[in-house]
Symmetry: C2
Subunit: 443 residues, 2 copies
């Protein structure tokens, strides 16, 4: 411990996560200093509003309204970009990287939209861009893919990546709440935003899934080749079907890779997960990811996927990595050779066609209550050779309609799409059919 | 990718794991070369018997009966010690480290028994000692503690660290097998050795728990202050109690740290785990570990804890880290500053006293079938102020005895020990009482 180099840390954005990072870095300063063999200088924080009252104590001399003042300070070596959004955040990130600095980011949208530009700047100027906090909060999933499980090719990555959806679905499934009530509760508890679109419509999970797919396979999945579904339309009959047949309803991100045919699929959607699967046990606001590697087999990581402290844990983990690298005692986080090689391999990969994506399906139909209606429905399944595994039929007396929920054996998206198209044309099918995928590791 | 440095890899020991490492390194050679920006030279393997038939193909020119020939080869930079045991393995490890080389090891016993000597050699000669494979096979738990979750202090580390025990307990709990039958099956499947002592008596899990405790807290727990229990005595009444009241029987390693009072406890023992806990879902030969960090909250990692491929995944992960470090592009695995700082903090820690270790307990008693016997038993609980939560009593007609299983509210090891000592002295208690701990994250 001869070195006594001082590492300066600057923070852009002092919202929930920024304050969490500041709080824990302050509390653990001397502990981290002795472990890392450096002095830490928590130099500056850029805030939007200098006068706002904050829960975390910070001297007003440390605050500035100008993020460039933090970035350009020659004594700041590590810049934590915690502003969010993709405009100002992009500008600040590139500015820091072009000075060869380390940027630690929790910004998934930024990485998804400007990843190539960011890594170009890293390559040119010798800085670093670290983003463990961008996916699954406190769970070290990026590090697991990039380092701990680096010996593996990942045939399957499946995860619960949005804690808000998982909280809502857990409350619906275990406690019988409606979607609207569960959402309201999540908003009251601070798990969901006033405008919950990003979460409940699957956008947030899609950003995270894109990052994992890119990391594992070197390819950014185009949005128009990615199935993105939210959880707004899940109703009591779906919950009932899941419970009766031993499933939990989860909002999943699924990334499959076929190494023989060189395709991958990326999808985020609600799915029925067998209760025996460890992901079925990941409940509430937690996240969980199972990676199936060709060497290691299935490995699962689960924990808190969002929130001030969990995200701060990931950001500080990246800061520690960066410091170890800056002082020469350790790693550089994301080796650029590795990244480049993965992207080169990724160029060969195509997105899977609809016949190549196969799973069992779940379907909810609202049917006219009349003799012969069921037969007409089943005829369509028979025509497309889709076998039905389980059925529940509910009557709604005096409403002139019934509800049928059913599951199929594994079948391709293409075939199921054809069945759906024909069902929509039946006059006896009263509402838009509601489709869910059933997760099975094999298919 | 300008560098074209060649990294030489040597392997000591060509059993299950050694062959797995060779196989996967050979298969992924060009992939790893492009990702790491180096040439890999799989140079030599030291074997005990040159003529033995092996499943993995290897040119006989690569084999040598002399491990020193591998270690001393100036073109070998990374030595994988996969011999096992602590005599030859110690000699080889120290010899390589004294030449400043990298040693990658899966040898938990070696690390437990000779850790200080090994790291002394690393410190003096500037080499590295990496040991991800020593705990929980393919699960990157060492890296999670040291890097991904490095922002945290760990209040609790609880894990299923022995796949053999977990397979046996899963078969007993879910399929009603006896311990003897489940053990026999595990041996037939290759999950248990002919002499299963190390596994079923908890020694293997104890080694792993010691390593995790040392990593997290900088202190090696003395064996005589560690509770080490195996699973041989678990019987049908215990399984029945667990099932009725919503528990799974698991062989746990539990490391608790109290930061206020500066103590830690390390114990490995069978315990009842609530079904709602994610660890209750870790079944078969899998391992799982929950880390509760002061920043991140509870994070769980689960996957295959042993076997050729899972262990090879961890070994190759370490090799990749070592190469990244050797080529200057990345980390040094275990930073010595960090290690030293943790050990310095560890010097302040004491092992917990028996009054400080608190949990609910489970107890099975074999009692004389006579009026007044139960009262005599309960009197002892009352005297020590131990409250009983649940009881099941079984009759065994015509045997003159009954079985009582019960659980308590949380109470200290000291109090429970006093109850047990008095119960043993009762003439109406016919066999040695059988005690299990009930895991609860809070206590």
């Amino acid at each position: 411990m001869k070195t006594s180099r001082t590492i300066g840390i600057g923070i852009l954005g002092f919202g929930t996560v920024g304050q969490g990072v500041w709080k824990h870095l302050t509390e653990k300063k001397s502990d981290l200093e002795s472990r890392l063999g450096v002095k830490l200088d928590l130099r500056k924080v850029a805030v939007r509003n200098l006068k706002k009252k904050r829960e975390v104590k910070i001297s007003s001399a440390k605050l500035t309204p100008n993020p460039f003042e933090v970035i350009d300070d020659p004594k700041v070596h590590v810049v934590c970009e915690l502003i969010g959004g993709t405009t100002k955040a992009r500008e600040c990130t590139l500015r820091a990287l072009r000075q060869g600095k380390v940027v630690v980011s929790a910004n998934k949208a930024l990485l998804c939209e400007h990843g190539p530009e960011i890594f170009q700047a890293v390559r040119q100027h010798g800085g670093q861009f670290l983003f463990e906090a961008s996916v699954a909060g406190g769970i070290p999933i990026i590090k697991a893919i990039r380092e701990g499980l680096a010996a593996n090719h990942f045939e399957l990555i499946v995860g619960i990546l949005n804690g808000t959806c998982n909280h809502i679905l857990t409350r619906m499934g275990e406690d019988g709440l409606s979607f609207a009530d569960a959402l309201k509760e999540a908003q009251e508890l601070g798990y969901a935003e006033a405008d919950p679109t990003l979460d409940v419509d699957g956008i947030d999970a899609w950003h995270k899934a894109s990052i994992l797919a890119w990391l594992a396979h070197g390819k950014w999945a185009p949005r128009n080749r990615t199935l993105v579904e939210g959880i707004r339309n899940i109703g009591p009959a779906d919950i009932d079907f899941a419970r009766r047949f031993g499933f939990a309803l989860k909002h999943l991100a699924v990334i499959r890779r076929n190494f023989e045919k060189d395709w991958m699929t990326v999808g985020v959607y609600p799915a029925l997960v067998p209760n025996g699967d460890i992901l079925a046990r990941v409940s509430g606001v937690n996240n969980g990811i199972t990676l199936r590697g060709d060497v290691v087999g299935a490995t699962t990581l689960a924990g808190r996927g969002a929130g001030q402290d969990a995200t701060a844990s990931a950001v500080i983990g990246d800061i520690i990595d960066a410091i170890a690298s800056l002082t020469g005692s350790a790693r550089q986080g994301l080796s650029l050779d590795d990244l480049q090689a993965r992207e080169k391999q990724g160029q060969k990969i195509r997105m899977a066609e609809l016949d190549e994506i196969v799973s069992p399906f779940y379907l909810r139909l609202s049917l006219l209550d009349k003799a012969g209606v069921s037969e007409g429905v089943y005829r369509i399944f028979t025509k497309h050779k889709v076998s039905i595994a389980r059925v529940i039929q509910y009557e709604h007396p005096n409403q002139g309609r019934g509800t049928v929920t059913l599951s199929t054996y594994p079948v391709s998206e293409r075939k199921m799409g054809a069945v759906l198209a024909e069902l929509r044309r039946l006059k006896t099918v009263l509402e838009e059919p509601f489709l869910l995928r059933i997760f099975s590791p094999e298919s």
